[in-house]
Assembly symmetry: C2
Homo-oligomer: 268 residues x 2
Amino acid sequence: MDVFQNIVMIGAGNVATHLAFALQQKGFSINQVYSRSETSAKLLAQKLESPYTVEIRSLEQSADIYIIAVSDDAIGTVAEKLKFDNQVIVHTSGSVPMDVLKAGSKRTGVVYPLQTFSKSREIDFQNIPVCIEASSDELLAKLEKFISTISNDVRHVNSEQRRVLHLAAVFACNFPNFMYAIAEDIISDAGLNLDILRPLIKETADKVMSRSPLEAQTGPARRNDEASLHKHLDLLRRYPEYKDLYEMISQAIRKKYNSFDKLRKRPN
Amino acid sequence: MDVFQNIVMIGAGNVATHLAFALQQKGFSINQVYSRSETSAKLLAQKLESPYTVEIRSLEQSADIYIIAVSDDAIGTVAEKLKFDNQVIVHTSGSVPMDVLKAGSKRTGVVYPLQTFSKSREIDFQNIPVCIEASSDELLAKLEKFISTISNDVRHVNSEQRRVLHLAAVFACNFPNFMYAIAEDIISDAGLNLDILRPLIKETADKVMSRSPLEAQTGPARRNDEASLHKHLDLLRRYPEYKDLYEMISQAIRKKYNSFDKLRKRPN
């Protein structure tokens, strides 16, 4: 079974960039880059030493696979402009169903790398879980072979599960990062630098690499430490929004663990 | 300047255990362990091969330093039962002022290791930031020399800053961990395992080791992606509490970045 040889990358953002580089490093050829932004298209194309276009109608027609890595709301629009017979179209989004690609081809799929990408930060693609889905078993097998060249962790995930993953990723990534930002904000005002909290941030994440976060939970809310909770709310008077967040999250932790502790202490 | 040679550890919980081991490894002698729980006292004392007691009045009187690593609300009570002249008493709490030790001795201090400890998890003390404070400059210098043997990152932090750090640590550690727990909860219900999110959790923490979380923020709320926000709230209908948290945190992110983006786009 051959994997895809000729690839067109539609999009030039973070996901497109990291995916294109990972593929190129494994010997695949990115035949063309498309972006409606000439600056972005040119930048990625130059790095890849590939041609680029800013016109959908100038897309090369004979590639094996078209990877649509554009913003969620543009995926459908792009797909509708592609009219292929046998070429494969995939998108890379967590929250968009595979269905929206139907307009562009009969052979469609999804390649969703579950990671947070920044253009300025290198990342080892081998360790990124990549969720794949396809319109046929034959294509799924082919996609799996293809993506296994760049990731050791390829998984079959359907559109419904992928939606849940996309939501869960907000709790696993975006919200923790915002909590870090609040911590930095508060200690800056006290004349301290985030450096002092970095080992704690790292250990908190490292801890759940081998255990469940439910078991790893610590802190004043977890141990119903009213004195600390009150001191913290008092300190947060200057930050009404952080105070509201602190109260709501602490309340949720206490509620969660009250039932959890009851469950564990129950004799049967 | 000599550092302390003979140490009495008051408390046998996570902090006491990790601190005692780190000190013992550097050649210090833990002369005695106290805990009001005989099980805990015995467990730690056996590991250290030190004597233990469950009676405050049986504490050895001639040690150089008494490290009180008990729960916050017990620190004052313990200190009042110590009546020392020249011996040093320190506590290890983030949220308790140094003052509460006054009753026990004229020479008091704080040694607050800023990390999350679990008994069952080894940790390299060398990389833990330890915040110290003391009742005199002479004692501060002595404490610094003492703690520098076990940590490469000893800092002078006063009681007020330490209170803020203790609060910030909740945002840097306890709340992110609870967000991980929610993520696990949600994907478990979809038949998925936390493994698929672990690389994302790790990368999210690793990212802020070298940059500010304010710059590292990603996700639907950050980019005002209404479509994803609505999809997520829809998926969260089954979890009313998580839905409330999702809305409140997303709202706070949007508010934060609206002003942040305006600031950056401002011409002057």
